[in-house]
């Protein structure tokens, strides 16, 4: 006979109470496990969606520079030792140590041209890469589509090699409509589309095929920059930058900090909400344990009196109460994990509007059981102390 057997036998006798106690813990742990699983899935999906929206790193040619200043005023800056960024560098990105985290690679060449005799800035792009990376670009007008008709998705359209897409300001400045021709550096292009106003610098640009612009500017194979979208759920942007820098020693890789900060902040808010809600549920579960154990101690006054009268110390009585809590909590933790995982798998995609599956998190089994045990033992502390302090003479009605 040992204290564990006494605890186990008591639980066997009070099945309904034990069930109620376990249920409280199961609901508490299940809520935490389900929330953590769903929030994790949301983090991953949200992270992916944010990562898809625009570039989070840009690669420019490496250069050295010197700034001459007089007091606080920069008088002149001198750039020298400028490296080249070329089309040959593109495969290196897909072969780098962070290749598995790279989503979209959008090379560009930017230059000044004469468009219908007027100065203009032209950007050579690989259209599908560029407009997939920037889904906020959309066409206001498209060649072959009547006015007011439904224009195509820029990311999916095949822009002809001699076609250009004008920013809204550029179109207005050059007085061009879709279908018009545009002579750029003595080469004739057709206006394929005009973009919706963005309210940014891009409104004044002319977008054309990269190879065509390289030819126009007399810079075959060269690039001004490469914009990169990376998946950052499992690889922070700083690691991506380090990996790309190693792959392209002739380039300078810059993380777009604002994008990263927005991403982390948004995701952290989701996680904080999940944790806060879990905390409330666990508190309620702890209260259920506390009240149930207290009621159990009150019912067992005479029994505890007998234990004390035959020679059990206070610590032995407390140990019995804690052992009962530990047994119930182990079962509750395991059952809670199973229920929480099931709820996350079945209801998670519906509740959280997640496209993919909610992954099963086996690494939560031990923490779930430990959480349940800690919760039950802490909540049982007051009932255990109360049981231990029972006066045996009073409990046995000798007073």
């Amino acid at each position: 006979m040992n204290l564990l057997q006494i605890a186990a036998n008591n639980l066997k006798r009070r099945r309904m109470k034990m069930l109620f106690l376990t249920l409280g813990l199961v609901v508490g742990v299940a809520t935490v496990v389900a929330l953590m699983s769903i929030v994790q899935a949301m983090r991953l999906e949200l992270g992916d969606r944010i990562d898809e929206f625009g570039a989070n790193a840009v690669i420019v040619p490496r250069s050295e520079g010197v700034e001459l200043s007089f007091g606080d005023t920069v008088v002149s800056d001198v750039i020298f030792d400028v490296q080249e960024l070329t089309m040959a560098d593109l495969p290196k990105i897909r072969q780098s140590v962070v290749a598995e985290y790279i989503n979209i690679v959008s090379p560009k060449l930017v230059g000044a041209v004469k468009a219908d005799g007027q100065n203009a800035l032209i950007v050579g792009v690989e259209a599908k890469q560029e407009f997939t990376q920037k889904p906020w670009f959309s066409l206001r007008e498209q060649a072959g589509v009547p006015a007011g008709g439904k224009v195509g998705d820029l990311a999916l359209l095949d822009v002809p090699e001699d076609g250009v897409i004008l920013g809204s300001s550029a179109a207005q400045h050059l007085e061009k409509r879709v279908g018009d021709t545009l002579v750029i550096n003595e080469r004739t292009f057709s206006v394929f589309g005009i973009l919706n106003e963005l309210g940014a610098e891009e409104d004044g640009l002319i977008y054309a095929d990269l190879a065509a612009v390289q030819g126009l500017l007399g810079r075959p194979g060269q690039l001004s920059m490469i914009e990169v979208s990376a998946w950052c759920n499992f690889c922070p942007i700083e690691e991506v930058v380090a990996g790309l820098s190693a792959a392209l020693p002739n380039g300078r890789v810059i993380a777009l900090r604002q994008a990263a900060m927005f991403r982390y902040q948004t995701i952290d808010q989701f996680s904080a909400f999940g944790f806060a809600l879990s905390g409330v549920v666990l508190l309620i579960a702890a209260l259920v344990v506390l009240t149930t154990m207290l009621s159990s101690v009150n019912e067992r006054t005479r029994e505890i009196g007998i234990f004390r009268a035959i020679g059990f110390r206070r610590v032995h009585v407390m140990e019995i109460i804690f052992l009962e809590a530990a047994i119930v909590s182990a079962m509750g933790g395991l059952a809670g994990y199973i229920l929480g995982s099931a709820v996350a798998q079945v209801a998670g995609p519906f509740l959280a509007q997640i496209q993919g599956d909610v992954p099963l998190r086996t690494e939560l089994i031990l923490p779930a059981v430990l959480l349940s045990a800690v919760l039950a033992v802490l909540a049982s502390a007051y009932p255990a102390v109360k049981a231990a302090q029972l006066d045996p003479a009073e409990a046995l009605r000798y007073i």
């Binding site: 009268a309 020679g311 003479a393």
Partner: protein, 238 residues
């Protein structure tokens, strides 16, 4: 000269409740020798249960002292007193007070829970004691599967499993029929003959036949009036 096992000196006990004071014991002094068997009788409210609880190291007296086998019981800390109860006292409670979800064997093993022995040794000790009280074949029965007399035997076995020198019993035959009561009293007598010092609170004057000495409590004192003693004993008043 007989060795004193229990020495009570000027015991008083006052209970305070809602501003009132109830004096349950008024200066009780008594010595019980080793190997004696003493019956404590008296009407309800005479103080006999209070006396038993004080002797059982459960209820500190308001004043006075209790020494068992030379140990000043109430000079010990609460936790040491628990150890003392386990080692020196066997207590047979009123209404048996068995743990309902433990078998007879497990109930008897209860005082051994905190003793550092193997489970096997504990089972053997408990089994041996159950045989001694005549319950060899009923070790695995739950209390509700035993008769009143059998439950009383289990309670006695639980009280003596740790081989204490003193056995305290509170109305051990109170809820038993005459025949069963006599069997239980005969068991107590056998245990006393084996060397146990026995102190028993009882209402039944018939039980005094099995004990070597009878003391009467009245209004918190030991009754010394011989006429009253005889009257009380023969009338068997409650």
């Amino acid at each position: 000269m007989a060795e004193v096992m229990i020495a009570m000196k000027n015991l008083t006990k006052v209970y305070k409740s809602m501003g009132d004071e109830v004096q349950a014991l008024r200066g009780v002094s008594l010595n019980i020798d080793k190997g004696e068997s003493v019956a404590v009788m008296g009407q309800s409210g005479s103080g006999k249960s209070t006396l038993l609880s004080i002797l059982g190291a459960l209820n500190p007296p308001t004043s006075g002292s209790v020494e068992v086998d030379g140990i000043d019981v109430y000079a010990l800390s609460q936790e040491k007193r628990a150890d003392f109860r386990r080692e020196y006292l066997g207590f047979v409670f009123q209404q048996f007070q068995l743990i309902p979800y433990l078998t007879a064997l497990e109930n008897v093993m209860l005082p051994l829970t905190t003793v550092k022995k193997s489970n096997k040794e504990k089972r053997e000790m408990a089994g041996s004691v159950l045989c001694r009280v005549g319950l060899a074949g009923k070790m695995n029965r739950l209390p509700n599967q035993l008769s009143g007399g059998e439950q009383e035997r289990v309670a006695i076995a639980r009280a003596i499993v740790n081989e204490p020198p003193v056995l305290l019993a509170d109305e051990p035959t109170g809820s038993l029929d005459t025949k069963t009561g006599d069997e239980i009293m005969a068991l107590f007598q056998r245990l006393n003959e084996d060397g146990l010092t026995v102190l028993m609170v009882t209402h039944n004057p018939e039980n005094t036949r099995y004990m070597s000495r009878t003391i009467i409590m009245k209004d918190g004192r030991l009754c010394t009036d011989k006429a009253e003693l005889l009257q009380l004993v023969s009338a068997g008043k409650r």
